[in-house]
């Protein structure tokens, strides 16, 4: 009946060894292989790959484009996100909670669907351009979305919610007495904002800005749909093109370069935030001080709703209209509406049927496996505190810094030659999804486990439960809502994934992202839009579910 210390640790080390093997196969092997291959030419060490990559015409320009596009988009995101956050957190603007929800919607719209919507609005013969032509009578279009500025604009619309949500959170949780003290000390409203509020939320702005930067620099869907036609390339699209040439060595070298850029951004964040770790933001939600907009109120309210129309309602409307009218450009009268494209993709067209099933399977499998593996890794680190588990956690989260397109490249390297060939099957995509989404599942289980106080498990032990029983009866039930949220958090982006899938798919393993992309590219706009509508519906429902679950996770007392 007596258990020795050594044996308990043995059991935990065995579980950890299994998790380690999984992380090595999923994450470390492809990453290390990519790195080594970038320095190998015909089996010997060389910098030739890098030299080649930079000497190919257009590549250098793509790097330059990536940097300026990301920088501009980040700046736009910071301005838009911060202003909207201030409006909905600190002013008396009407319908705040609706505005908040609406401002978050672009986050749920897959980037390539957003691009399709904007093409429909501002592409040649797009709805907005048509409307303008009708009003002004001129042939000139006001804006062509197939252009560098189109890429920048659509990226900014997609990524500003990262800044918005961070800043809203910081503003909501900020202790209002900090601002009140400044007012009492004699500072005006404006001065308080400039000298107290803004510096205090600066870390949140930076954190959101860096997320937007990383998201932008690795985004494939938007520059692929809007930029390539205008011969405007950025790193992800140029890597995509190199793989189709195929020029694998150059693609590898550029991939390493893209990783370097993301890591640089992450270090910048550390460096900026490291010196500004404020603890003034309390955990509790307190009623903050509300600024009265006064005479500006009507103008700002109208402005906010115009913005919502532009970035949320019009794009969604454009996709929906495309999918449910008989042909692109048909007058919007009742007899032109139809559900035939929806019926077609769901019941007749094998490719889209396959794509939906493949995506459901891949997203479900990736979410389940990533969640279980993530739960084991965080349990070992947060609760059992097994020595070495911190390293496992750190290694598992490395892919945070690896852009999706690069994960695709490393998968091709890892699984298309050697003893196990997965290339051309659905399993290589599952491996890629696991690598991509393991970090977020580790993060979310870490957060959930931290909320479960150790004493809850210990109370079960002193009540007579073995550690298996304690885990089953106490930890697991408390972990479940968090794990469910984490599962959806992986399922949603995996279901609408495009960047990795577009590199790894082959006939029979299409995903909804790939199918939409290819159909749009081939000119089947109505079918592509119908598929996009289904993706959108699932995305909106899923993201809504996550907020709901998060709500009741936070309500569980710890």
């Amino acid at each position: 009946m007596k258990m020795s210390v050594v044996r308990i640790l043995d059991a935990k080390f065995a579980v950890m060894a299994a998790a380690l093997v999984a992380v090595i196969v999923i994450t470390i092997y492809p990453t290390v292989l990519l790195f080594i291959r970038s320095f190998l030419v015909a089996g010997t060490f060389s910098l030739q790959n890098y030299v080649r990559a930079f000497s190919i015409e257009g590549n250098f320009e793509a790097i330059y484009n990536s940097i300026w596009v990301s920088a501009t988009v980040t700046l736009l995101c910071v301005i838009i996100g911060t202003c909207l956050a201030w409006l909905t957190s600190r002013t008396d603007i009407g319908n705040k909670s609706h505005l908040r929800t609406l401002f978050m919607i672009p986050f749920s719209i897959p980037p390539f669907v957003g691009a399709m919507a904007w093409i429909r609005l501002f592409g040649p013969a797009g709805l907005a351009n048509q409307l303008l032509e009708f009003i002004t009578g001129t042939e000139r279009e006001i804006f062509n979305v197939y252009s560098p500025s189109g890429v920048v604009l659509v990226l900014a619309v997609h990524y500003y919610p990262f800044v918005f949500i961070n800043v809203v959170g910081a503003l909501d949780r900020m202790d209002p007495t900090l601002e009140e003290s400044a007012r009492i000390a004699g500072a005006s409203v404006f001065r308080t904002m400039r000298t107290i509020t803004l510096p205090l939320v600066a870390p949140a702005i930076v954190a959101g800005g860096i997320l937007a930067f990383i998201g932008t620099i690795e985004n494939f869907g938007i520059p692929a749909m809007l930029g390539m036609r205008a011969r405007f390339f950025v790193l992800p699209t140029v890597i995509y093109r190199l793989l189709h040439v195929p020029d694998i060595p150059a693609a590898i070298a550029l991939s390493i370069f893209l990783i370097a850029l993301t890591i640089l951004a992450l270090f910048a964040q550390r460096w900026i935030l490291g010196r500004r770790s404020y603890t003034v933001i309390s955990g509790k939600a307190i009623q903050p001080r509300i600024a009265r907009l006064g005479v500006w109120k009507p103008a700002l309210t109208i402005g906010a709703w115009v913005f919502v129309c532009l970035v949320v309602i019009l794009p969604l409307f454009a996709v929906f209209v495309t999918a449910s009218t008989k042909y692109v450009g048909a007058p919007l009268v009742p007899e032109n509406f139809t559900v035939k494209y929806f019926l077609y993709i769901l019941f007749e067209f094998p490719m889209t049927q396959r794509a939906i099933l493949n995506s459901l399977f891949l997203a479900g499998a990736a979410a389940t496996i990533a969640m279980l593996l993530g739960a084991v890794i965080s349990y070992m680190k947060v609760k059992a505190r097994v020595p070495g588990s911190g390293i496992l956690d750190a290694v598992g989260t490395i892919p945070y810094a690896i852009p999706g397109i690069v994960i695709g490249v490393s998968m091709i390297l890892a699984w298309s030659v050697g003893p196990i060939v997965l290339y051309g099957t659905i399993w290589i995509m599952l491996m890629a999804y696991l690598m991509r989404y393991l970090p977020s599942s580790i993060r979310s289980t870490n957060a959930t486990l931290h909320q479960i106080d150790d004493s809850l498990e210990e109370a079960a032990r002193t009540s007579g439960a073995s550690w298996i029983d304690a885990f089953k009866d106490v930890v697991l039930p408390l972990l479940r809502p968090g794990m469910l949220a984490g599962w959806i958090l992986v399922f949603m982006p995996a279901f609408r994934e495009l960047t990795i899938s577009v590199l790894l798919w082959s006939g029979g393993t299409e995903t909804v992202g790939v199918a939409t992309f290819e159909l749009q590219d081939a000119g089947y706009k109505e079918i592509a839009a119908a598929l996009a509508c289904i993706v959108l519906g699932i995305a909106l429902v899923g993201d809504h579910l996550i907020w709901r679950i998060k709500g009741w996770v936070e309500r569980v007392p710890s």
Binding site: M1, M3, S4, V5, D453, T462, G464, S466, R555
Partner: protein, 356 residues
């Protein structure tokens, strides 16, 4: 309370890195005793309790509960917590939020695979004991802090443990409720005859509730004794200073005789003590504020000082009296009140000497 030992801790040591959380502590707790581990935060009292519970693995020493050896580092033996037959109440209650009051309390019995009727009966009985009748179907989030604490107590009680371990159970409650729960826990113990080990940093709490107290500091045991022992004959200046108020004055022993010694206070005045510490010249004199008598005119054996501050508190007057460069705190009954600046003669009754 019998003289039979219920828990015995022998030479227990627990280190975190290079820091000793518990340093070679030995203590034995008798059957039916209310025993406190008392000390400032970080003194190792909770770690010691967690070692007894089996939640921490010590670096040296052994622990017996009843007649069973449950921890022995030299024999590489750690009986896991669930096999020790203990009940434990945590500082933050640790009531499971996903179970009702009934489910929380029934859990230890379910683990023991008791029959349904038996569980129903015992839970109801325990609910009555902690005065939670009628709340069985509530969830913890629907209970007040005091009620949650009772659930935690009931859950620890229900399996009729060999010993109950309470880790600062009242520190999250407000003052009034704390007083009430103090009484209830004490009353519960009287009715059940349980052995209780109670961890607290609140000396008034441990004085009021305990049969005996272990005073700890920096991981080490400083004194074990009844509340009266500890208050009246503290073993060293730390215990004297931690339990109640006391004045600690550095002094020098100038001469010795059969009954005690003469000491010199800072500034040169001398005083006679009824005890001695062998061998050393430097010592610390401890005298409690209520053991000092003030007189307006010279008294034999008194030291002379000046009233620096007088605060009227109703039942007592609280003085700061300076004797040369040192200040003493004095509390007397308010029958005679001295004003700031007056000269006062202090008789230091029941003074104690400790080594530096």
């Amino acid at each position: 309370m019998s003289q039979v030992e219920k828990v015995r801790v022998k030479n227990l040591t627990k280190k975190y890195g290079k820091v000793f959380a518990v340093n070679d502590v030995s203590v034995s707790i008798r059957d039916g005793e209310f025993f406190s581990f008392l000390g400032p935060s970080g003194c190792g009292k909770s770690t010691l309790l967690r070692c007894i519970a089996g939640l921490e693995v010590p670096d040296a020493g052994s622990i017996y509960i009843g007649n069973d050896l449950v921890t022995s580092v030299s024999e590489k033996l750690i009986v896991s917590p669930e096999r020790r037959n203990i009940g434990m109440v945590f500082q933050n209650y640790a009531v499971w939020p996903h179970m009702t009051v009934f489910q929380n309390i029934a859990y230890p019995l379910k683990i023991k695979k008791k029959s349904r009727n038996e569980i129903q009966e015992q839970v109801n009985h325990t609910l009555e004991l902690v005065r939670l009748q009628g709340l069985a179907e509530r969830y913890p989030s629907e209970l007040s802090g005091g009620q949650q604490q009772r659930v935690a107590l009931a859950r620890a009680l229900v399996m009729n443990p060999e010993v109950m371990l309470l880790d600062e159970p009242l520190s999250n409650l407000d003052a009034k409720l704390r007083e009430e729960m103090r009484f209830e826990i004490k009353d519960l113990q009287a009715r059940t005859g349980l052995t209780i080990i109670y961890v607290t940093h609140d000396q008034a709490e441990s004085m009021a509730m305990s049969n005996r107290i272990l005073v700890m500091d920096k991981g080490a045991s400083r004194q074990i004794g009844t509340p009266r022992d500890i208050y009246e004959t503290p073993s060293d200046s730390f215990v004297a200073g931690f339990i109640g108020l006391t004045n600690l004055v550095p002094v020098e022993i100038v001469s010795r005789h059969e009954k005690g010694c003469e000491v010199e206070l800072p500034g040169g005045q001398t005083l006679s003590c009824r005890m001695d510490i062998s061998g050393k010249e430097d010592a610390i004199l401890s005298v409690r504020p209520e053991d000092i008598e003030i007189s307006g005119s010279p008294v034999k054996e008194a030291v002379k000082g000046t009233i620096k501050r007088a605060v009227y508190l109703g039942n007592v007057v609280d003085y700061r009296v300076s004797i040369n460069e040192h200040e003493l705190r004095v509390q007397t009954s308010p029958r005679q009140i001295f004003q700031t600046g007056e000269t006062a003669y202090l008789s230091l009754e029941r003074n104690l000497l400790f080594s530096v």
